[in-house]
């Protein structure tokens, strides 16, 4: 329990101190150390859960099993990488006069609050508190999306806030339906909203209310996870936010929304005897399909990456819907791989956009010549995200396709292969144009701040290693995570 307290307090205290600090260097170092402390606490909790099973406490408010610990660790890991990246990125913005020092402190305060809200979502037992946490992530990150205060950023933030809140309101309605059936089975008590109790009683819940509840929650949390057709806010918000925030939004916030959805799905699928899976398969495939035209005609680099996030959330949802040991394993492996590859890609793209002073892909050429290190990493990350071998996403996508064939979802798997291939071609068309060729004479040949490059190392290593094989520790972790969703076994 002390560990959990440290996990919550580390980002809160870091944010507050970074906010009141008077020196820029001190603020930067302090927040990086704070992010490292959060990561250490998350790592400790993950290993405690890995070896000792689920953590339970604080009058049943806190519940951390393998799935929670997996999500917490991912949040802290990407959070740490993005906090390092923020230093170099924000120094550049400060030097360019885009932001002031007081805005910088505001940024670090809200950045760590944002990490805190995501950690809360993953550590609570009650579905009601899960909802409270997810709503808080929207509220805090909407202010971060609006950070630059330009017209486009404000438009994106407003859309995000309103669409996110309405979606989430429907999820609350769904949670009430689930609570209602919980009360009927477990009696009028606060535990009737606890995930552990609901899962244990899932066989005895009323199927029709659970079904209505699940559909509302699917729409609500699906809005937050960027599942089509509720994804319209996502490309705006993810492209207008400062790049480190884009990386966190795409890399872990979407996972956190899916985390909420999958928790409810575990209950609903047991109650409905597997009937809930078809909804996930439908929304998953639809999300992948809808990104195809948008990626093909895209002009804005960060928007293209945002649409790619919609695609990958679709793949994860689809894979959970396919289910079975292999499907769930593939889904969570993909979740991990996508977080690494997408944050790496956003980091590299952010540095590129800063150097070229544009997000328009037409105006970016010859990255490899002007920025050899960042350019190479950008190319690797782009190959990884489109599912080219020998990088990590290739392995998880193959696993998901295999799962589809194995569980007699041949058509689904074939559609998936076709769509992924088209998206690969569409994205590579733009990436190749940007990476190769002559660089314009405007861009001087300098590498960026060391902080921005150091931040790339963590995800880069994992993207490359996990392309060859899944390390045993990760392999076992993901098996444990997928058993959580198979119900019962904990």
């Amino acid at each position: 329990m002390v560990l959990v307290a440290v996990l919550f307090l580390a980002p809160l205290i870091t944010g507050l101190f970074a906010w009141v600090a008077q020196s820029q260097r001190f603020t930067e170092k302090l927040q990086a150390v704070g992010a490292l402390a959060t990561l250490a606490a998350a790592g400790k909790i993950a290993s405690a859960v890995y070896y000792g099973g689920a953590i339970n406490g604080w009058h049943d408010i806190i519940y951390i099993d393998a799935l929670s610990a997996f999500n917490i660790f991912l949040i802290a890991l990407i959070g740490f990488a993005a906090s390092l990246y923020s230093i170099g990125y924000m120094r550049h913005e400060l030097a360019e006069g885009e932001i002031s020092f007081s805005q910088l402190r505001f940024y670090y305060l809200f950045y760590h609050l944002f990490i805190f809200t995501m950690l809360t979502v993953s550590a609570v037992n009650s579905l009601g508190l899960l909802w409270v946490g997810i709503e808080l992530t929207t509220l805090v990150s909407a202010l971060l999306v609006a950070f630059y205060g330009k017209n486009n950023a404000l438009e994106a933030a407003w859309k995000y806030l309103i669409m996110g809140s309405v979606g989430i309101a429907f999820a609350l309605l769904g949670i009430i339906f689930v609570y209602l059936s919980g009360i009927q089975t477990l009696g009028q008590q606060h535990a009737a909203l606890n995930w552990t109790e609901l899962l244990a009683a899932a066989k005895f819940l009323n199927p029709s209310w659970i079904k209505i509840g699940f559909i509302f929650i699917l729409i609500g949390f699906g809005t937050k996870a960027g599942l089509a057709p509720m994804h319209f806010w996502l490309p705006d918000a993810h492209s207008q936010a400062p790049t480190p925030i884009s990386a966190v939004l795409s890399g872990v916030l979407l996972n956190t929304a899916l985390y909420g959805l999958f928790r409810v799905y575990a209950i609903a699928n047991t109650t409905l005897n597997g009937e809930a899976a078809q909804y996930l398969i439908f929304f998953g495939l639809f999300s992948i399909a809808i990104t195809v035209p948008f990626i093909m005609i895209q002009h804005d680099l960060k928007r293209m990456l945002a649409y790619s996030s919609v695609e990958h959330m679709g793949i994860i949802t689809l894979s959970v819907g396919i289910g079975g040991t292999l499907g769930l394993y593939g889904a969570f492996l993909h979740m991990f791989n996508h977080s690494m590859a997408k944050s790496l890609l956003f980091f590299a793209a952010g540095t590129i956009c800063q150097k070229y002073h544009t997000k328009q892909m037409g105006r970016i050429t010859g990255i490899l010549k002007s920025m050899p290190v960042t350019g190479t990493i950008f190319l690797i990350a782009a190959f990884a995200i489109t599912g080219a071998p020998p990088f990590n996403i290739f392995l998880s996508e193959i696993t998901i396709m295999m799962a589809g064939f194995k569980s007699n979802q041949t058509i689904v798997s074939v559609i998936l292969i076709v769509l992924i291939t088209i998206i690969f071609a569409g994205m590579m068309h733009y990436i190749i144009k940007m990476v190769f060729g002559e660089s314009g004479n405007k861009v001087e040949r300098i590498e960026t701040s060391n902080w921005s490059t150091v931040a790339l190392i963590i995800p880069l290593i994992l993207v490359v290693i996990c392309g060859w094989y899944v390390p045993p520790l990760l392999d076992n972790t993901i098996y444990k995570v997928s058993t959580v969703l198979q119900g019962g076994v904990r």
């Binding site: 408010i61 009650s126 009601g128 508190l129 909802w131 409270v132 709503e135 808080l136 509220l139 909407a142 202010l143 609006a146 205060g149 330009k150 017209n151 486009n152 404000l154 438009e155 994106a156 933030a157 407003w158 859309k159 806030l161 309103i162 809140s165 309405v166 309101a169 609350l172 309605l173 009430i176 609570y179 209602l180 059936s181 009360i183 009927q184 009028q188 606060h190 909203l193 009323n206 209310w209 490309p235 705006d236 207008q240 948008f294 005609i297 895209q298 002009h299 928007r303």
Partner: protein, 211 residues
């Protein structure tokens, strides 16, 4: 009593489609929230579940006093032309709202919810509030009115929790109210910044991001 409160909620929501000034909408949602607090108190009286009383007091403090004050302050400070702007004419929008009300009643009679011995009067009202809140968000062009629509939806959901499930567990209820308060502050902050950047709160001007 139940019927009276339900009628109050429904007519106040319909009134949203008649108003000319945005500040009137703030008054309407304050009135609705006061009725919600009353519903929670009624449910406490009927069932004796104590935390409903806490919920009633907090609902009154946060949803009836704090949030409307924040919104009122925002509207006044942005000095926007306070007239509402709709997509369709007031009569058409009132007509559509009434149609949605009928649809809401129809849905409610089809819904067989458990534990409704005390709350059955409110189910139809809450569904109608959710419908009309959504309609408000689509119908109005002012950014603040979208926030009002959101609050009406939330009121509908509150009504269901209080009447059908007799509130949520207290910790959750506190969390939800805290979220609502924070969201009102965030809405106010963004509205101020939108107003100073766009010189207006009309969402027609915010159509730059596409594709």
């Amino acid at each position: 009593m139940d019927a009276l409160v339900s009628a109050g909620l429904l007519f106040s929501t319909l009134w949203l489609f008649k108003i000319r000034k945005i500040t009137d909408a703030v008054g309407i949602i304050a009135f609705q929230s006061a009725l919600l607090a009353l519903v929670a108190a009624i449910m406490w009286y009927k069932t004796g579940i104590e935390h409903l009383l806490v919920a009633a007091a907090l609902t009154f403090a946060i949803k009836t006093i704090l949030i409307p004050s924040i919104l009122y302050y925002t509207i006044n400070r942005t000095n926007d032309k306070q007239a509402v702007e709709r997509l369709s004419s007031p009569h058409v929008s009132l007509l559509l709202a009434i149609l949605l009300m009928a649809a809401g009643y129809y849905v409610a009679t089809d819904l067989r919810l458990p534990g409704t011995q005390h709350g059955e009067h409110y189910i139809a009202s809450s569904i109608i509030l959710i419908f009309l809140g959504t309609f408000t968000m689509i119908e109005h062009k002012k950014a603040i009115m979208q926030a009002i629509g959101l609050i009406v939806i939330e009121n509908g959901i509150f009504l269901i929790t209080e009447s059908v499930t007799y509130g949520m567990p207290l910790v959750v209820e506190l969390g939800i109210l805290f979220d609502l308060l924070v969201s009102a502050v965030v809405i106010a902050v963004l509205a101020f910044r939108i107003h100073s950047s766009f010189d207006s709160l009309n969402t027609d001007k915010m159509q730059n991001l596409r594709g």
